[in-house]
Symmetry: D2
Subunit: 366 residues, 4 copies
């Protein structure tokens, strides 16, 4: 399949970058849930381009139209479908991508897979633009979770070798969690943010791009969400996070660092805090055996540098079967990381709400 997530919620994403519209159907939401469109728009704006020197100057409104599923501001039980019209005209910028694929893009693999029938304009269905429908779906879930005391936030953990102050995996509170998302450049430590922006500006000036790491956390989760083996919270979140085109790695809690620890260091001792079972450390990232343990759920994703760069690159003419140079025209983000921050929140919110719905169903009744 192309772009469908089947859990308790079904998320079906459609559209091509330069087609008529992109959109999403979200099926399985309980009826009666309020959806605040202003809050959703604010969330979507965090992903939209044109917010600073670090992103493409293209202006896309990304204003969803709701075709179904909402009535008087609440879910009505029927599938919810929202679309965003593409206002970019189909330019000639992408005319030769089927012949001369861009390094780091899906042009070549799409050509092989779809035999030349794919829509390659603007990257087609592979465009990062398709994360906008993901954010519509995830943004709605994030609102519902917030009403249940569950907060989802993220920040840039590193760009160009400059680290931000990481979330405190044990003592993180909602204010600290959500603060970065309220800034144009979503970091905890603004001086780190300034240094990152300098790095981005330098890369941009060199016709180049930068990658980075994003850290995401979820607070207020009840223990017991997720399932063993194939439907653990790690499996669920990873599956959704890798839907964001540039993500090349995901780790939970101590993640790859835990590979260098001893068990006595990595194990999180249990303790009681105000009568609640907690752990003293949180190398597990709030997940044991695939199931939430009530501690903050923390994960990080590696985001590769934007593959569209201004420098000339080596490619191959598929038609002429000869090596050739490629220069990518058009305006591109020198660093996609800031705009990917809400996408991670959307993926996490979907995974968490899906698990929460499922847990509702199988709670002990006997």
């Amino acid at each position: 399949m192309s772009s469908t997530y089947h859990g308790q919620l079904t998320v079906s994403i459609f559209g091509q970058s330069h087609g008529s519209a992109i959109g999403v159907t979200l099926d399985g939401l309980p009826p009666g849930e309020p959806v605040d469109l202003d809050t959703l728009q604010t969330f979507l704006n965090r992903r939209a381009p044109g917010q600073g020197d670090w992103s493409t100057p293209r202006k896309e409104a990304d204003r969803p139209e709701f075709l179904s599923g909402l009535l008087e501001g609440r879910t009505c039980g029927a599938p919810l479908t929202a679309v965003i019209r593409n206002t970019n005209t189909r330019s000639g910028d992408y005319a030769n991508l089927k012949d001369l694929p861009r390094p780091g893009h899906a042009d070549y693999t799409a050509q092989v897979k779809y035999g030349g029938f794919q829509d390659s304009a603007g990257g087609g269905h592979f465009s990062g633009r398709l994360t906008a429908p993901l954010c519509i779906a995830g943004g709605i879930c994030r609102q519902i979770l917030a009403r249940r005391g569950i907060a989802v936030g993220a920040h840039i953990a590193a760009i160009g070798g400059v680290p931000d102050t990481p979330f405190d995996p044990v003592h993180l509170n909602e204010t600290a969690l959500l603060a970065p998302g309220e800034k144009p450049f979503p970091v905890t430590d603004d001086s780190a943010g300034t240094a990152m922006q300098t790095q981005i500006a330098q890369a941009k000036a060199a016709g180049d791009s930068l990658g980075g790491v994003i850290e995401c956390a979820v607070l207020g989760l009840p223990p017991g969400l997720g399932d063993p083996m194939l439907d653990g919270m790690e499996n669920r979140i990873a599956r959704l996070v890798f839907a964001i085109p540039a993500v090349k790695g995901v780790e939970f809690g101590a993640g790859f660092q835990c590979a260098a620890l001893r068990g006595s260091e990595n194990n999180d001792p249990f303790c009681l805090v105000d009568g609640q079972v907690r752990t003293k450390t949180n190398h597990a990232g709030g997940i044991l055996g695939g199931i939430t343990n009530g501690m903050p759920l923390v994960f990080r994703a590696a985001v590769k540098p934007t593959p569209s760069i201004a420098q000339a690159q080596d490619s191959v003419s598929l038609g002429r079967r000869e090596e050739a140079q490629l220069e990518i025209k058009g305006r591109h983000d020198p660093c996609i990381v800031p705009r990917a921050v809400p996408c991670l929140e959307a993926a996490a919110a979907l995974a968490v709400y899906d698990a929460l719905l499922e847990q509702e169903m199988r709670r002990v009744q006997a």
Copy 2:
């Protein structure tokens, strides 16, 4: 759900560590595929305990009995079910885990989720023992792939800070890929392996444990496998790899390293090699836009240190609601990493064969 993977293949894993049996149903295999049981047993033996000082001295035969799906050594189109009897008797070793959960284990989360009705003996359904059925399913797929020229291999990339020589992501050949799996201690560089074993012995002597990193690669893949967004090869592999209980991170190609690279460094330039489209580097790990590009598919997984250690640890009595110390008895692997190597291969083989089947179906016919 607990332990079901739904793709073109359905993999349904069942069993508890100290129950009657563990097993797997693998539905969706084409008919007529030979399954060599000796080759499969050799593969399963790589996961079995008792192979060296680094693993638990428990001896479990892990010999599957096939209840269905095979006829005269070939798949017959019906669901294939294999079971492994548990010969361990239900000891009293685990009697108090429901009250005093082990740090780093699923004891506490299982207690919350299942309300005390879970089978906690030996970790129940959360036991690493459940990776044996995963290896049955994946081992069968690995055989089928081998007949189609696709090889799946893995090695220990690091334990205790000691790195093995990584796979060459561009020039890796089948001999180098499969060599580690033929050794008791699956590394490329045996001197690194010796140093790792020393680290493990030291940790064991200290009543402690070690984690590590495993690197897995797939050779011979046709370009075009996988789908955009939610069913990309990264999504599929990640979902299956996180089924291995100790895995806390997964990265593809340059993975988290790509976060520190510039686009001009990370992008893999296309070139022609013997008339075939290839890339000069392979930071993408053989995957662009979720779809294989014909280069080696390379990924790594972080494996946490075995949570069962001999040292006393802090826990909480759930019944008495008071903090308490815990000492874990029994025999445990000081480092699970070597035994997890074939599990990664199994996960990769399942994901790849599933994508290969799907691709068969949607090839261009018009």
Copy 3:
């Protein structure tokens, strides 16, 4: 879930009768398949209202707009989404359905299930109007099947006790199969059709409505489609046919008649015709063990009388908890059967094409 079919194709239907739009996402079509929009429109017109005295005089254009998935008249591998705008204004006709539910409609069950948050205007997501997106998806599959020599057709088998000449389940040819669909009133025997229309006119004059039976057949099917037990062709078709709101029964081949036959009568003897294995009779409706046997696939569906009738009916005020009379205003089909004929074809085409794709994948390779 509400309205999603998950097979090799994912069909996700959305929309409410009086919302902004209704539509469908069809994911999983192979790339490069031509979609002829005129042929599709002709197919959709067979379902559209306003075609004769037997249907509602409402005029709805039912012209789909394709938002994604098509490029230059062919599928492009990305999910295909089509929407039909609702041009009916939200009238007050349905204002009191939440309080006073219509007998035979989903008003009461929707009220209970969705707690009053459902969109009840025009029946909301339960409206027969939602079969239009089903026909878009099925109509596209029907075109693809036609290019592979597989024809799907249907006719009214009975209305008001008047039977049409049934399809010959053994000797049916494509001309006879498709002829009814080319007529405004889709029957084989036009004199039967005239008698049916008389029945409908009489019912309409009495402020009443009629049900009927539709017979559908598929020709040109290769043997081997479908799977044992839960994914047999009967299971697949039944699941899709019951998506048509008025259907209350489905039977294959001799169906309920076979309950009165002896085995020696019901069994279809095998024979050779031009060197091909065939059966002399076709009580099985072309399906043995859930799998096509190469004979015409034949099934029938029972369609209940339109529940919206002009006569006063007994209902209950849910708010006042008292019995009350209801008169339904507005224009309604006195008999929905003629318009449901292409819906059955759509359901059959989806089920068959889905099974055909699946069979591609698992053909013997060893």
Copy 4:
């Protein structure tokens, strides 16, 4: 896929008639549900052969062994797997079915689909014996439903033209519902049962077989179960009922009869009974818009005559490509209908419990 149902419960059935074992994995049961094995065995015994002159004299114990998912008589949250060993030895009775397929059986379609690799002994995976695992899964759900006040029962509605007294769709009570299942020959009216048995004896004496109709009902259902369009109760039940090999038709409420009614007759007027919303008639079979309305859920299934008959039949030698006669040896049921009664209950119980679990999850919380 072969034999997997994916809902809130995953039911994965495996095994071949003459293989080592048949069985089922049922994943998704809430933890802590008691499973009474004696009650289950009593239920399974209703399906087992050898209970009277109307069934095969083969004796199969059908005693399930539980490999996982149960602990101290309760579900433990892990997948539940049960197997039944096949004690029949692999006889030569079926040696030539691959060449000379039995009319009315899946021998020919299996040969085409699986290319000769299928297990044809005893019908392999297509055997009616595979309904035993379905009854294990459904029997467990039926117990759980009973604890929630929901009763599932069925009876033979007709055999050989002899009708039983149908269930009263409006006033049916639990005693009347469950009474037939407690008899060796499950009918309401024992004189009808005697007449049916006479018919069966006559058919058997003639080397022939009989089909019939089974009626199933569910009492105590809350309104609101099921979903519009593709996941309505009709869709769900039909999909599971057609898993029973001999079923060729299914109808709900008035079913095919409603095709001959007018709307004013078929619509069920709402009324109040003891303050509860009910309908005066129940042509809808308790389902409106796919959703239960609180009335008895009633459906019927058509069961074809056992295809294995003693009379010589026409077939085709697939190897020699010539017509040939076939005589089926062995012992076969002259009428499978009585043994299929609990299978229908199992299918209904699975569908209903699955919908009940799903409804738990999406109840209005806002």
